[in-house]
Each structure stands twice: as C-alpha cells, then as structure tokens.
C-alpha cells in the first residue's frame, strides 16, 4: 500500500496510469449524469410545495456539498506538499483551485436559479448561501495568491499555507454563519436545505446526479493535473516522447 502511495508521487506514473482509466471514468460519468439528469429533470413527480421548481436541486445540492469537500481535498494535497515536499501533490492542488471555484460558482448560480421562483428573489442571506459565498472568496484567495508570486516555488508554498489556514477556518466560518442566520431571522425562514420525507423516486435520481457530478469534476481534476504535469516536466524525456509521437491525449 505504501508502495502504491509512493508511486503516486511520480508524475510519470500518475500520467500513464490515469491515461489508462480516463476512458472508463468518462464513460461511467456520462452514464451516471445522463441517467440522473434525464430522470431527475423529466421523470420525477412534482414536489407538493415547490411544484416543478425544485428540480434544480439535482445539480445544486451535489455541488453545494462538494465545494466544502473539495476545499478539504485541496488542503490535503497542500499539506502533503508542505510536509513531505511531494511535487505531485502541489500539481494536484494547483489543478484543484479553479475547479473548486467553478463548483462553488455553480452551486451559487443554481441556488439563485432555485431562489427566483421559490422566493421571488435571486439572492437571500441564508446560512448555506452565505457560507458558500465565503467559500468562493477562499478559493479566489488561493488562486490570486499563487499567481502573485514571481517565483513558482514560493507561490506554491504560499498557496499551500493559505489552504491549510483556510481549512482550519472553514468549520468556524460555517458554524458562525449558521448561528448568525438563526440570530437575524428574517420574515421567511425558507432554507434551501429544507428536507422533507421524500419518496425514493425523488431522491434516487439524486444519487445518480450526485455521483455523476462528482465523477465529472474528478475527471476535470485529472485532466488538469495531467496538463500541469506535462507543463512542469516538459524537459523530461518521457514528455518529449509523448509530444513527438503526436499522441497528446491518453
């Protein structure tokens, strides 16, 4: 097991291994997303409270949950880089940031779309949306910090430190925003996280979309990391061979 983890630190090994299972991952993701989206958007019964409008939740809920988890994953990569100096971990962390930003932005956007028919407004300061907005800022901060450094190594380490500082703060931020929300209760206490007992035909598609979206973004991460590997190792022989043979893709 340690052998395998140790190998994971080699860019070349990661590149060739990931190249082999990308087609499978793509296939599974397409199937999961396809089934989930079609089923959820077209074939589930309308909700008794929100009518047809709740369907955006099939995209919103997975992304909203994922954005926190994604930051945590990015922080793990950053920690591995800072503590054990595994360059591969930094490449993965760097690839994580724009994807994490996108996931959070999608969560916010779909949340707004859900909000318009439900509450008549596209923004509401409820606990979940506000925390997700702060997550967006945290991802933006890591992106901006890395690019502000002239030296690539210094930028990588600084971004790693910031990610770790951020991950310690996230539970505190989420808790504080939830507490703030209960304190300043507005007229309507409509939270997007209202869960009622839903019959299986409603939450089953959610499994499909949930895993499908997860697969989609993991695929994006792997592809981005592969690009990062190619760029950073461009002077290595095995990379030059790839370019020469014209097989840029898997």
């Amino acid at each position: 097991m340690w052998q395998w983890l140790f190998k994971l630190g080699s860019p070349k090994w990661f590149y060739t291994m990931s190249g082999q299972f990308i087609p499978w991952l793509t296939g599974i993701t397409v199937i999961l997303l396809g089934v989930g989206l079609v089923w959820g958007l077209a074939f589930t019964p309308p909700d008794y409270q929100m009518g047809e409008n709740y369907r955006i939740a099939y995209i919103h809920v997975p992304t909203a949950i994922m954005c926190y988890w994604w930051y945590g994953m990015m922080a793990c990569f950053s920690g591995a880089y800072l503590i054990w100096r595994i360059k591969m971990a930094d490449m993965a962390a760097k690839a994580c940031v724009p994807i994490g930003f996108t996931i959070t932005a999608v969560a916010l956007f779909t949340g707004s779309v859900w909000g318009i028919p439900t509450w008549g407004t596209w923004w509401i300061w409820d606990a979940r949306l506000t925390s997700t907005l702060v997550m967006l800022f945290l991802f933006a901060g890591v992106m901006v910090l890395r690019s502000a450094f002239d030296s690539v190594d210094a930028g990588a380490k600084a971004a790693a430190v910031l990610s770790l500082v951020g991950v310690v703060n996230i539970p505190i931020v989420v808790y504080s925003v939830e507490w703030w929300n209960t304190l300043h209760q507005g007229a309507s206490n409509l939270s997007l996280s209202d869960t009622q007992a839903n019959p299986p035909e409603v939450w089953l598609p959610a499994f499909f979309t949930g895993f499908g979206i997860f697969g989609f973004f993991m695929l994006a991460l792997i592809l981005r990391t592969r690009n990062e590997i190619l760029q950073r190792e461009r002077r290595a022989d095995w990379v030059k061979d790839i370019f020469r043979s014209g097989k840029g893709e898997f």
Binding site: S151, V152, D153, R235
Partner: protein, 209 residues
C-alpha cells in the same frame, strides 16, 4: 565544521549549480566567486538555512542543519546585502536588540564595538541620519559582539572606504586565526595574509554543462 555534499540548487526551473561539495574547517576563509547571476547569493542563503529549495546535504558538525536548526543558528553569523538595521532606531538600540536576539549579555560592549568601526559619537542618533557607509558599519559592528564561530557574509565590503576595507580584512583574518571560519562573496580582490580557498560557480557550471 560545515560540510556540504552534492548540493544542487534549482530556481524556477533553472539549475544554478549542482554536484557542489566542500568542507569548511575551523581557521579557513572561503571565497565564493562567480559572475552576476551565477548563484553566489543563493548559495550563501542556502548555507545559512534561509532557503530550503535544494537537493543534497548540508551538515554542521555532522548534523543536518535542517534538523539541528537551533544549534546551527547559535553558531552562525550572517550578513546579507541589506544592513538589517532598523532605520528609526539608534545604533545602540539596534545592537542591543541583536544581543538579545542571540542571547548575549553584552550591553557594556556595544559602545566599544561601535567605536572599533569608527562610529564614535553616533550611538544615539537614529540610523536614518547616518550615511549608507555608516549604516553598513553599524551592521558590521555586530560581528564584534557575536560569538558565533561561522561567519557567512555577502559582499561585506560594499560602501566601505579603503581604510574600512583593510580593517575588515584584518578582522576576518583574526577571526579565522582564533578558530573561526568565514565564507564570503566579493568582487573585490582579497588581500589577506591568510590563504583563501575558492569556489568558482562559473567554472562549476562550465564543468557540468
């Protein structure tokens, strides 16, 4: 004292030097030579432990400096490009802080240290009122107070006049004679009555590439 094995330094995908190995023994003076940009300052900063981006081993009396940081820091005196003097403080206050930061109880010797670098009467003026050369000498005065055996100095002769340069050379020679060691970079041609060992980074790069 300090031994370096197979040092490789890569900065932003450019290899500055590699396969660098040498050993510094008490009583030696080492000069690092090389053209601008060859990595002299980077090498010195790596040897101090300020820069962690290197491959290879640096040992202080057999212990990796990254692990024995406190011991190493206690035995090291570093002078970089900037004088490390706060401009709003007086020379006396700056040196007093220096003593505290190294755990030295040498308040009484501060005046003497300043005097030996021709800074009579400037004890209580804020450093921004001193010239660049004088600020440099305040910074150098720390050497008199330091009890560290290893001195790593980067371009120590900048902003010094001819007499200052001579005195500093004698000072380095004395330190080596008393069992210390000095590693320095300078464009100036050293005239110390002491044998100087040299590392030339241009030649090292030439050997490799």
């Amino acid at each position: 004292m300090l031994s370096v094995k197979d040092l490789l330094c890569e900065r932003d995908e450019r290899v500055l030097f590699q396969n660098l190995s040498f050993s510094v023994v008490a009583g030696e003076i080492w000069q690092v030579e090389g053209s601008n940009g060859s990595g002299k300052t980077s090498l010195l900063r790596i040897l101090c432990g300020l820069n962690d981006e290197f491959d290879g081993r640096i040992e202080w009396y057999g212990q990796d400096i990254r692990k024995a940081r406190q011991d190493f820091n206690q035995s090291l005196f570093y002078l970089g490009h900037t004088p490390a003097i706060n401009k709003t403080l007086t020379p006396k206050e700056n040196l007093s802080w220096f003593c505290a930061s190294r755990g030295l109880q040498k308040q009484a010797e501060i005046k003497g240290a300043l005097n030996s670098f021709n800074l009579y009467g400037y004890d209580d003026m804020p450093c921004y009122q001193l010239s660049a050369g004088q600020q440099r000498r305040v910074s150098l005065a720390r050497m008199k107070l330091s009890d560290a055996p290893l001195w790593i100095v980067d371009e120590p002769f900048t902003a010094l006049d001819k007499q200052g340069v001579n005195e500093l050379e004698i000072f380095f020679a004395e330190h080596a004679a008393h069992g210390g060691a000095v590693i320095l970079t300078t464009h100036h041609r050293l005239e110390i009555g002491h044998a100087v060992k040299r590392i030339n980074l241009d030649k090292l790069a030439g050997l490799a590439g």
